[in-house]
C-alpha cells in the first residue's frame, strides 16, 4: 500500500538510517512510504509466525490454570504476542532495547517474550519477587542490575510489582484490553544481533546475561531436536521456570520453533503437588521432560499417585552438574510400575553459554556410570553435533588418560558472551572456546561431570557465587569481616545439595552466638532466597586463606570434612 502525502510521527533510526515511522495514530510506516507487514525470515520466531498462519488452530501449548489444563492454539499465542509487540512499539522503545519480563507461569509470560522479540527488542526473564526475600534488598539489587543493563521498560503484573518500584515504565499485563493500539500489517523491526538474554542466578546486581543470537537459538533448536529424536507430534511436558535456560530452551523455545506442543505448570505448584505433573504427562501422553537432579528425588518423596501412566515418555533427561545415579535409580524404582521404561532415563550437560546442550546421552539403555574414588558418576553422554568438548588442566594443557580436569567447550552454538560485560566475556570465552569452570573427565567418548573448579556453588540446581553469600555474612555485626566460607553440601537424607556456612566471630557467650546464627540464617534467606542447611561457628583462624588473602576452597572443604559430620 503506497502513501499519498506525508506521514507525521516519530522517526525510528538505526545507524543514522530512518527505518520506520510510528505515525500519530500509532501506525508503523516504512521510510519508503509503505505500511509494513511481517517479521523477518531470519528471526528465530519466523517458523512460529508462519505456522500461526498455515495451521492457526494447531495446538501450541497447554497450561495448568486453577487445576485445569487450558489449551492455546498457535493463532491465540501469536495474537497475544502481537498485542504485546504493538504495545511495546507504541511506547517508543529503542531498537534492541532490553526489556525484562517478570511474570509467573501463564500464557502472558510466553506471549510477552515472543512479543518483545517481534518488536525488535531483547526479552529477558527474571523470577518474580519471593516473599522470603527482603523486599528492599530485592528492589535494590534489581535496580542495580537494571541500571547496569540500561533498562527503561519492564513487563509485569500488578499482582507482582507496583509502579512505585524502580522502573521508568512498567507495562502491566492487566492494562492490555484498553490500551492496545491499532497497528495492523506491520513489518516488525528485526534486531539481528541478540535474540534474547539468558541471565544467570545471582544474589546481587551481578547477574550476568548471556547474549543468544537468532542464529544461535535456531541452530541449537534444530540440532538438539535431532539429537534427542524429537519428531512431529511429540509433546513436551514441563514444570520448569523459564527464567532458567533448561525450561526456556527445552520446554518453550525449542517446541515453539519446531512446532511441538508443550504442556506446563507453575514451578511452585509443582514443588507442592508433583503428582499433578505426572498426571499431565499421563493425560497428554507427553514424550519428553527435563529435570534437574533434585527433582527426581523430590518427586519420589512427594508422590502418592496410583493412577498415572508414564509409558509415553521417550526421554526424561537429568540435566545437572553432576547427575547422581541414586536419583535416577530411585525414580526408576518408584515409577517403573507405571510404565516408565528404563531406556527413557537420560542425562545431559548443558549451559546457557552454549544456548543449552553440550552433551546428551543417546543410547537406549539405562544411564552408564563410571566410578572414581568410589563415587558413581553418571555419563552425561557424547558431545552434540557441532560441539567440541575438551578436558584441560589448570595450565590449559589437555589432560591424559581420562583424568579429571576442567571442561572447555567450543562449537557453532557458542554464544558471543555476556551482555555489557566485556571483561568477563574475555576471561571466559578464549579464542572461540568457553572455559566452563566445571570439572569432569571423558571416557569412551562420553563426558562425566564431577563438580566445580571455581567459587560457583550448585544449590539445588541454582548456581550461586560463593562470594555473594560470604559478603552478605561478612557484613553482619559479630562476624569477623572476610572470615566466612560458603560451600555446597550434599544432604544424603534429602538427596539434594544444600548450602553450608562456616564463620568466625568476635562474640563471647553461647547466647550471643546463637542469636548471631539466627541473624545469619535470616539475612541470607532474605537477600539470596536460599536457606542455609548447615551453619557452623568456628574458632578464630579456622578458615584457611591463601597467602594472597583469598579463601582456599579446597583446603577449607578438606578441613570441614575432618571436623564436622557432613554428607558431602
Amino acid at each position: 500500500m503506497s502513501v499519498s502525502g506525508s506521514v507525521k510521527g516519530v522517526l525510528v533510526a538505526i545507524d543514522a538510517q530512518i527505518v520506520f515511522i510510528i505515525s500519530e495514530v500509532g501506525e508503523i510506516w516504512s521510510a519508503s512510504g509503505f505500511l509494513m507487514s511481517t517479521i523477518s525470515q531470519e528471526h528465530f520466531l519466523y517458523p512460529f509466525a508462519e505456522r500461526s498462519i498455515s495451521n492457526p488452530n494447531g495446538k501450541c501449548c497447554a497450561i495448568l490454570e486453577r487445576g485445569n489444563l487450558v489449551e492455546y492454539s498457535n493463532l491465540e499465542m501469536y495474537n497475544l504476542a502481537i498485542e504485546y509487540a504493538k504495545r511495546i512499539l507504541s511506547i517508543k522503545t529503542n531498537f534492541g532495547e532490553v526489556i525484562p519480563i517478570i511474570l509467573t507461569t501463564g500464557i502472558d509470560l510466553y506471549a510477552a517474550f515472543i512479543g518483545v522479540s517481534i518488536a525488535g527488542c531483547v526479552p529477558t526473564i527474571f523470577p518474580p519477587y519471593n516473599k522470603k526475600q527482603d523486599i528492599n534488598i530485592y528492589k535494590k539489587s534489581m535496580s542495580e542490575l537494571f541500571k547496569r543493563i540500561s533498562v527503561r521498560n519492564i513487563i509485569s503484573s500488578r499482582s507482582i510489582l507496583n509502579s512505585e518500584m524502580y522502573y521508568e515504565n512498567i507495562i502491566f499485563k492487566e492494562d492490555f484490553a484498553s490500551n492496545c493500539i491499532g497497528l495492523n500489517d506491520i513489518i516488525y523491526p528485526f534486531y539481528k544481533k541478540i535474540a534474547f538474554l539468558q541471565h544467570s542466578s545471582g544474589t546481587t546486581g551481578s547477574k550476568k546475561g548471556v547474549m543468544i543470537s537468532h542464529d544461535n537459538i535456531l541452530r541449537h533448536a534444530n540440532t538438539y531436536a535431532d539429537c534427542i529424536g524429537l519428531v512431529d507430534g511429540d509433546v513436551i511436558a514441563s514444570w520448569l521456570p523459564i527464567y532458567h535456560d533448561m525450561g526456556l530452551i527445552t520446554s518453550f523455545l525449542m517446541p515453539i520453533i519446531k512446532g511441538n506442543r508443550f504442556v506446563t505448570m507453575d514451578p511452585v505448584e509443582w514443588s507442592m503437588r508433583p503428582d499433578r505433573f505426572l498426571q499431565i504427562v499421563t493425560s497428554t501422553k507427553a514424550a519428553f521432560a527435563w529435570f534437574p537432579d533434585f527433582a527426581f528425588n523430590h518427586t519420589v518423596s512427594m508422590s502418592r499417585a496410583t493412577d498415572i501412566d508414564l509409558s509415553s515418555i521417550k526421554k526424561i533427561i537429568n540435566c545437572s552438574e553432576p547427575c547422581r545415579k541414586s536419583s535416577i535409580d530411585k525414580f526408576y524404582q518408584r515409577f517403573s510400575q507405571f510404565g516408565l521404561s528404563n531406556d527413557a532415563l537420560h542425562a545431559s550437560y548443558a549451559m546457557a553459554e552454549n544456548v543449552f546442550c553440550v552433551t546428551q546421552t543417546k543410547r537406549s539403555t539405562y544411564p552408564v556410570c563410571d566410578y572414581s574414588d568410589d563415587v558413581a558418576y553418571v555419563s552425561s553422554g557424547r558431545p552434540m553435533d557441532g560441539v567440541g568438548v575438551y578436558i584441560k588442566d589448570e595450565f590449559g594443557d589437555f589432560v591424559e588418560n581420562s583424568d579429571v580436569g576442567e571442561i572447555w567447550i567450543s562449537g557453532l552454538s557458542l554464544t558471543d558472551g555476556y551482555y555489557l560485560m566485556p571483561e568477563l566475556t574475555k576471561e571466559r570465552f578464549i579464542e572461540d572456546v568457553y572455559r566452563t569452570g566445571d570439572l569432569g573427565f571423558m571416557r569412551d567418548g562420553e563426558l562425566y561431570v564431577v563438580g566445580r573448579n571455581d567459587d560457583v556453588l550448585n544449590i539445588n540446581g541454582k548456581k550461586i557465587v560463593a562470594h555473594d553469600i560470604e559478603n552478605i555474612i561478612s557484613n553482619i555485626e559479630g562476624v569477623i569481616s572476610g572470615r566466612c566460607f560458603a560451600f555446597s553440601v550434599y544432604e544424603i537424607s534429602r538427596s539434594r545439595n544444600g548450602l553450608g556456612i562456616l564463620f568466625e566471630h568476635n562474640l563471647e557467650t553461647d547466647l550471643e552466638i546463637e542469636n548471631l546464627k539466627k541473624l545469619i540464617l535470616k539475612n541470607v534467606a532474605s537477600i539470596s532466597n536460599i536457606a542455609i542447611s548447615e551453619l557452623y561457628a568456628v574458632e578464630r583462624g579456622f578458615i584457611v586463606k591463601s597467602t594472597s588473602g583469598k579463601i582456599s576452597r579446597k583446603l577449607n572443604i578438606e578441613k570441614m570434612l575432618s571436623h564436622f559430620h557432613s554428607g558431602f
Binding site: M272, L521, K522
Partner: protein, 79 residues
Amino acid sequence: MNYMASVAAIIIDVLDLGSFNIDENTTAGDVPGWNSLSHANILMAIEDYFQIEFDLSEVLSAENVGELVGMIKVQRDLK
C-alpha cells in the same frame, strides 16, 4: 488439640533439626534447611497428619508458623 505443638514437631521432624525452638512468629528464614522444597515436604506432612488439603495460593501466603496454624484450624473446622 495443641495445633502449634504438633506443627512444630512436624517441622522439626521433616527438617531433622533435633531440637529447635519454633513458635508462632517463626518464619522459614529463621530455620536451617527450610527452603522451597522442604517447605513442600512440611506442608505435605501437615496435610497427612491433620487429614486436610491446603489451597495452594492461600497456604503460600502464610507469613509465619502462626498463620500456617491458623489455616490448619480453619481447614479442620470445615471438615
